[in-house]
């Protein structure tokens, strides 16, 4: 029982060395690591932009950046964080790594397409880097026409192409997941034995497949308008700029769920593992993911309530927008009920899960205020919206991502990180986050519009609070980078199942062998069956 675990002799990390063994790999686990590295680069780049923004906003005047630079900073912050960090964050790293393992497969259905998707992502990233290096882009991540198509004199074309290309990487990831989940399940792994993480990714993939092509074609239309002088959205030729918004949000609203659904999946895993209990109402949680995916396609115009759309259309979209709140609420209630009669321990991943519960719930509920027509007229395009979606994107998606990363890190690298430091970081993130974004709700109701470089002096107190919070938050993000890197060499060896968790991925060595399992597993039990003997002492392999 007390025997110190050792690393397995052969695993995916030492199965071949050298750059070529990585850059030409078809192993989903290695591709996940490649993604992990690249999205981290983008995350810190986007974070740097956020830092510039918050520094500038500490005073009402324009003292650090010029207006043009400021506009470029928030545009790149948005483009990088949305298209190059949040959308690939959990699916392409944790999903890529663990979906094949969770369904009991050797790899994804199309390993070469998986690698291709990473290269496509890189090409998209290079276009964006080029735009950044050549002088930036200032349209906002939403690329609203006619500003983007005709007026802005920055590098819109390169950025639009970057987003266009990165979209295909996202499509291919989704396609791979759908086929894997349909066709590659191990014997006995029925749909209702799948971990909820897999269900959430299935729903995410549907959105990636159905939504992403629409943003791709929209970006292409902006491209032909700008590059060749075509007129599709150009009001001077009778085009309608609002049509762009319809097409843009047809993707970009569901895209919010591309970012948050995988985090909801991670949450189900964390709650189950750290309360050693099956998720309450498994099938409701599973189907709520699909419901969110489908409903997400019929609510998009709630981003356009004051964009001159018809009053009736606005009412229909407001009505439908509430429908997407219900499955989200169902999830939160079920997680809470899971804690009843559980055996809860508070290691770092569970701290993130608790933080997520608070922030996602609050973020989601403030969404109701924005879905309500009467209040949205006042709040649209103010800091209230900024605060709301950061609660979902940062408080939800990034908390989920960090929680998942801490949960599966021992599996991915075979070693533990420093538990004390990681708890400190989790608390810093939670406190810093709230300090940063809670004041922005107040600012938003006061009427401070988003994307403002300067603001009336009476808004300063709240802005200073927000900037102060951002520095705490920044610290909370840098800390994991340090101790996780440190753990690669010096961390204690984790063993196959350090948390006493259920699930196929914990039934193989850490790190797993290239083919994931020594023999194809046969599944005979439901998901989240925690047997008393599955405590950490028990060795399965």
């Amino acid at each position: 029982m007390e025997a110190t675990p050792t690393l397995p002799a052969l695993h995916y990390l030492n199965n071949g060395y050298g750059l070529k063994s990585w850059l030409l790999t078809k192993d989903h686990k290695r591709i996940a690591i490649l993604y992990l590295i690249s999205i981290s680069v983008f995350f810190f780049l986007g974070g740097l932009m956020a830092l510039l923004i918050r520094l500038e906003l500490a005073t009402p005047e324009a003292d650090l950046l010029s207006s043009d630079t400021y506009n470029k900073a928030f545009t790149l912050h948005g483009v990088i964080m949305v298209f190059f960090f949040l959308i690939p964050s959990i699916p392409a790293t944790l999903g890529n790594f663990f979906i094949p393992m969770m369904v009991g497969a050797k790899d994804l259905a199309f390993p070469r397409i998986n690698l291709l998707s990473w290269y496509i992502y890189l090409v998209g990233g290079i276009f964006t880097f080029y735009a950044l290096a050549a002088g930036g882009v200032d349209t906002g991540w939403t690329f609203y026409t006619p500003y983007s198509a005709a007026v802005s004199n920055t590098h819109v074309i390169a950025t639009a192409l970057g987003v266009f290309i990165a979209g295909f990487s996202s499509i291919l990831t989704g396609l791979n997941f759908v086929v894997t989940i349909h066709r590659m399940r191990a014997p006995g792994m029925t749909w209702f034995r799948l971990p909820l993480f897999v269900w959430a990714h299935y729903a995410t993939s549907l959105i990636q497949i159905l939504g992403t092509p629409v943003i791709a074609i929209t970006m292409l239309m902006v491209f032909v308008e700008r590059a060749f002088g075509f007129g599709i959205f150009d009001p001077a030729r009778g085009g309608d700029p609002v049509l762009f918004q319809h097409l843009f949000w047809f993707y970009s609203h569901p895209a919010v769920y591309i970012m948050i659904l995988p985090a909801l999946g991670v949450m189900s895993e964390l709650i189950a593992a750290f309360s050693r209990k099956k998720v309450f109402g498994y099938s409701f949680v599973a189907f709520s993911s699909l419901a969110i995916a489908v409903f997400s396609f019929i609510v998009w115009a709630h981003h356009m309530f004051v964009a001159g759309i018809s009053v009736y259309s606005a009412m229909v979209f407001s009505f439908l927008s509430f429908s997407v709140a219900i499955p989200s609420a169902v999830k939160v209630f079920n997680w809470t009920a899971t804690l009843y009669k559980a055996s809860i321990s508070f290691e770092t991943p569970m701290l993130y899960a608790y933080g997520f519960m608070g922030l996602f719930t609050f973020g989601g509920l403030t969404g109701l205020i924005l879905a309500t027509l009467g209040t949205d007229v006042h709040l649209h395009d103010t800091y209230f919206v900024v605060a709301h979606f950061h609660y979902i994107m940062v408080g939800g998606a990034i908390m989920g991502y960090l929680g998942g990363l801490h949960y599966w890190w021992p599996k991915m690298v075979g070693r533990m990180y420093n538990e004390f430091l990681s708890r400190i970081a989790a608390i810093l993130v939670f406190v810093g986050f709230n300090l940063t974004f809670f004041p922005q709700f107040v600012l938003g109701y006061l009427g401070m519009p988003r994307r403002y470089h300067m603001y009336p002096p009476e808004f300063q107190v709240l802005n200073v609070l927000s900037s102060a919070g951002a520095s705490v938050l920044g610290l909370g993000y840098v800390l994991p980078l340090l101790y996780l890197l440190y753990s690669l060499k010096k961390g204690a060896v984790a063993g196959p199942n350090p948390w006493g968790a259920a699930g196929l991925e914990w039934r193989t060595s850490s790190p797993p062998p290239t083919e994931n399992f020594p023999i194809t597993p046969r599944v005979t039990t439901e998901a989240y069956e925690f047997e008393p003997q599955m405590a950490p002492e028990f060795k399965l392999v």
């Binding site: 500003y147 109402g281 004051v306 809470t336 009669k341 519960m357 309500t372 470089h453 925690f530 405590a535």
Partner: protein, 333 residues
């Protein structure tokens, strides 16, 4: 404005209290659920904390009644939010018939306002207390959004068409005007102030202009652009008479018809061939690019002034002109 730190915006329009009440209702419901969840997870977390290493949770599968309860109750609560929100929204969007007309033009990066009596302002708007004001908004370049936080009212300015918003100020004072839709470099400098005045003070402010009313300026433009050489009041000219047409139906060559309103007049000036009035030839040249947004509203006001009986708005629910919004844009740089 200019007042110091506060946590809540001034309530300076008649519907600010309505919007705020709705806001507090949704906020209270949200706070209740957020707190309930927070308390529940903390209490459960303490109560069911792991006591020894090998412990596992109890086997609980789920409960259909609970699932239904916590799906149906939130659904009903959100339906209340929807209904209430939609009614406030309808009120926000539907301007009363007798509203005072003001024109706003957004351009990078300023707001230009014009009053019917002729006053023109930049980044400042004077309005009377206790009177509904309808602002018709146009844009000369990109998207903007006219935002009065203290009135809880906002509407995008869209190049190529008119949008409107309305409010009735309920408190004398000076309040912010913001541009809420990102519009380029100096987006955050596209701000101004709305000055709410006592009606008497407003009247004397109005008469301080001396440029002549908007309609008079339109009349001058009407001569200058030689509109009057065809549009004779007698109806004998090459173009239809513009007397007493506003708010009335007009019939076109192809048999369709519409009610004459601002959008139709705008279209007829800029896209003169789009709809040809029955009995006339498509002779009129387009004024696309020859006339500014401000000149356009002056002309429209002039035409409206020729219909003195149409000051109250025409009957509601005009048959939809199945036509594009006046597809035209001001000159571009």
């Amino acid at each position: 404005m200019g007042n110091g730190f506060s946590l809540f915006p001034a309530q300076a329009s008649t519907f600010a209290p309505d919007v705020d009440a709705l806001y507090f209702f949704v906020l209270a419901v949200s706070a209740f659920f957020a707190l309930a969840i927070a308390v529940a997870v903390i209490v459960l977390g303490v109560k069911y904390r792991r006591r020894h290493v090998g412990e596992v949770g109890a086997r609980v599968e789920g409960n259909l009644v609970l699932e239904l309860l916590w799906s149906i109750i939130p659904t009903m609560i959100t339906m209340v939010m929807f209904g209430w929100g939609a009614s406030v929204y309808y009120h926000l969007r539907r301007a009363p018939d007798e509203a005072l007309q003001v024109y706003a033009v957004g351009k990078q990066w300023m707001w230009k306002f014009q009053h019917l009596e002729g006053q023109r302002e930049i980044n400042e708007l004077h309005v009377p207390l206790g009177r509904a004001v309808k602002v018709t908004i146009a844009s000369e370049d990109v998207l903007h959004s006219l935002y009065f936080p203290s009135f809880r009212q906002k509407m995008d300015a869209i190049p190529g068409r008119y949008t409107t918003l309305w409010f009735e100020a309920s408190q004398v004072g000076t309040y912010h005007i913001f541009c809420a839709e990102y519009c380029g470099t100096n987006h955050s400098r596209m701000i101004g102030q709305v000055v709410v005045m006592e009606p008497a003070a407003y009247q004397s402010w109005l008469s301080g202009g001396g440029e002549g009313s908007l309609a008079q300026r339109g009349a001058a433009l009407f001569q200058q652009l030689a509109c009057n050489s065809c549009h004779l009041d007698s109806g004998q000219g090459r173009g239809p008479s513009l007397k007493d047409i506003f708010g009335k139906p007009v019939e076109f060559q192809d048999g369709s018809s519409t009610i004459v309103n601002e959008a139709y007049l705008r279209e007829s000036i800029l896209t003169s061939q789009a709809k040809i009035v029955k009995g006339f030839q498509p002779l009129m040249p387009t004024f696309q690019g020859l006339i500014s947004e401000e000149g356009l509203v002056a002309l429209i006001e002039h035409v409206k002034s020729l219909s003195p009986n149409a000051s109250t708005a025409p009957p509601a629910a005009a048959p939809a002109p199945a036509a594009p919004p006046a597809p035209a844009t001001p000159p571009r740089r």
